[in-house]
């Protein structure tokens, strides 16, 4: 059975001008021990998807659809059962580790009390285990770390402490919401390595939210690309890089500058990422898509599953070769003038019209 299954999850948030959709039907499944990356730009709904799992969505939000944890719908749990799930089965790591730790407690108090409460261990046993956990997340000076207050530690150290606390109860599912976005790159590399190692060691499944496609590719088994509150493509990192099936995925991969080669001009996606509530029928990406056909603006594409991957694009099959081709930016003039020839200007403003 899958650890986690989302079935047509929709989320609407009431606002001054009526309800606003943030998720427009997200479906995904996560096998035990599997890592799934949720990748998207701002407004894509990647964090919101994660928040429906532990029911931490914003107050007032209306959620429909099913969120199954080990087959049981979390949406129907009462407060006590939800607390049990949060304590034992699922843990969450957020972007800001400082918010996760009580500023007036030392690291030792935070870890030891958590262990005593959750597992009923004795203080001595809990202390031993806390020290062991810290050592495993790569903290060299365990004594100093245990005696420190959160404000005395760097962001990278704190995130390690949070990871140590998260894996302490050996949960079956880890929810990670941009856990390294606030960290420096060198620290990000280390924290990700630790997170990845601990996840594998404990056999946890992971839902990993990030805006960084490459980062997700490095630590996830599969990647779901989100746009405007729905999944547009699911595939393995290798499949995504070799042959993306959705135009958005392709352009997202191309528009990120490369560390190894300079493009004379970066291929761009015209316009700005739109939010789910701005979609007006048809394909959500059509307005920004250089391959959009008239029917794309009319017909809403469904997420089509095929050979272990899924794509939400009406023209996915006809475009397969083109999307898998060379990066247009590096071999200039390969694609039509749509993406490279025209100046950036006007396009952003057009797309927002």
């Amino acid at each position: 059975m899958n650890v986690l299954e989302l079935d047509d999850v929709r989320l609407d948030l009431p606002s001054k001008r009526g309800d606003r959709a943030l998720l427009r039907g997200v479906s995904l499944s996560l096998a035990p021990g599997e890592a799934l990356g949720l990748v998207g730009e701002s407004g894509s709904g990647k964090s919101m998807t994660l928040r429906t799992v532990l029911r931490t969505e914003p107050p007032g939000a209306r959620v429909t659809g099913r969120v199954l944890l080990d087959g049981a719908d979390v949406r129907g749990l009462d407060a006590a059962a939800l607390r049990r799930v949060r304590a034992n089965d699922v843990t969450m790591i957020s972007q800001n580790p400082r918010a996760a730790l009580n500023p007036v407690l030392r690291v030792s108090q935070f870890l030891v009390e958590g262990l005593c409460d959750a597992r009923g261990e004795s203080r001595d046993a809990a202390t031993r285990r806390a020290r062991d956990l810290l050592a495993r997340v790569g903290i060299a000076d365990v004594d100093r770390c245990m005696g420190s207050y959160p404000h005395q530690l760097s962001g990278g150290m704190l995130q390690r402490v949070v990871i140590a606390a998260a894996v302490a109860s050996s949960p079956r599912l880890l929810l990670a919401d941009e856990p390294t976005t606030a960290l420096d790159v060198t620290t990000q590399s280390e924290v990700m390595a630790i997170l990845d190692g601990q996840r594998r060691e404990h056999g946890m499944a992971m839902l990993f939210v990030t805006h960084d496609l490459e980062l997700a590719s490095a630590v996830c088994d599969r990647i779901a690309v989100l746009y405007a509150g729905e999944i547009v493509e699911i595939a393995t990192p290798a499949q995504l890089h070799a042959a993306p099936r959705h135009p958005y995925t392709r352009l997202l991969l191309d528009s990120r500058p490369s560390i190894t080669a300079r493009a004379s001009e970066l291929p761009v996606i015209p316009g700005r990422p739109i939010a789910a509530y701005e979609v007006e029928g048809g394909c959500a990406f059509a307005a920004r898509c250089p391959w959009a056909a008239p029917r794309c603006e009319r017909d809403e594409p469904a997420l089509v599953h095929h050979a272990g991957r899924a794509t939400r694009c009406l023209r996915s099959d006809e475009l397969a070769d083109e999307l898998a081709g060379e990066t247009p930016g590096e071999t200039s003039g390969e694609t039509s003038g749509e993406t490279t020839g025209e100046p950036v200007r006007d396009r952003e403003t057009e797309a927002t019209t």
Partner: protein
């Protein structure tokens, strides 16, 4: 084609937004304040009685056709005294709030702009002022100068500065650190221009919120000073003074004067507090 090209074509909101922020209770409070102000302004139209003149023969009259709310111990018309009393009470509080708000804003902008030593020095001065209770400071001023409305309002205004200044300093400091202020600074614009053109409009909501809350407190403090005989001097009509002058009548079984004035003070102060809290509270929890 103008609005459609914008990412968030939010309608320019002013009035609608304010009403929403105030909520039903806040709007009711605003209506109450408007009515009180209107009544104070139109006092001569509402009553033909002189609030300062009465005849002893007419003392302690019950409400009737001639005197709608009756008369006080000197036979003066209570309605007229309440209406004209609103003028002194509102005006006094308004002056306190205006002076205190202006002073606090100036201090906050100066502290935020120069930072460091100037900020630290102003902080100490404010701490010093904080050490004196408002009323004590006002009483001190009266002892040094003279009794009278002008003296106590100025003294109270000074006493109120630290409360507003402390809050405003922190919001001004927050704005000061934002990139748009630094962008203006690096154009070589003077501190005064940047502070007034850029920082001031962005801390205006907090200034107004503070003013609304302080207005209520100022009314109470002024009433208390009048009650003690230090502020407004008889025969001028003033709510605080009315409560005070009514206390003898109270013992003689004529509670009207103190009661009416007391109710007026409570209602007005409550209305200002509600507005202040609505403006401030929603601001903190609302959008950036």
């Amino acid at each position: 084609m103008s609005a459609e090209t914008l990412a968030r074509p939010a309608a320019r909101r002013r009035g609608g937004d304010l009403a929403e922020r105030l909520g039903p209770l806040g709007i009711a409070a605003a209506v109450v304040i408007a009515l009180i102000t209107l009544a104070a302004l139109c006092a001569p139209l509402i009553t033909s009685h002189d609030p300062a003149v009465g005849s002893v023969i007419e003392r302690y009259q019950s409400p009737g056709a001639e005197h709608l709310l009756g008369t006080d111990q000197s036979g003066r018309d209570l309605l007229a005294r309440l209406l004209y009393g609103a003028r002194t009470s509102l005006l006094g509080a308004a002056v306190v709030v205006l002076l205190a708000g202006g002073g606090a804003t100036l201090l906050a902008l100066v502290a935020a702009w120069f930072g460091r030593h100037v900020d630290a020095f102003l902080g100490r001065v404010l701490d010093l002022l904080f050490a004196f209770p408002n009323l004590l400071l006002a009483i001190l001023a009266v002892a040094v100068f003279r009794t009278g409305l002008a003296q106590v309002t100025i003294a109270l205004a000074i006493a109120y500065v630290p409360y507003s200044a402390r809050v405003l300093r922190s919001v001004a400091l927050r704005e000061r650190r934002l990139a748009y202020v630094q962008a203006a600074e690096l154009q070589g614009l003077s501190g005064a221009v940047v502070s007034l053109r850029h920082i001031l409009p962005n801390i205006a909501p907090q200034i107004l919120t503070g003013a609304a809350i302080n207005f209520g407190y100022a009314m109470i403090d002024l009433a208390a000073l009048s009650f003690l005989g230090l502020g407004v001097q008889p025969p001028t009509a003033d709510w605080g003074l009315m409560v005070s002058q009514g206390k003898d009548s109270l013992l003689q079984g004529h509670p009207q004067q103190s009661m009416y004035a007391g109710v007026c003070i409570v209602v007005a102060v409550a209305a200002f507090s509600v507005i202040g809290e609505r403006l401030g509270g929603r601001k903190a929890g609302g959008r950036a």
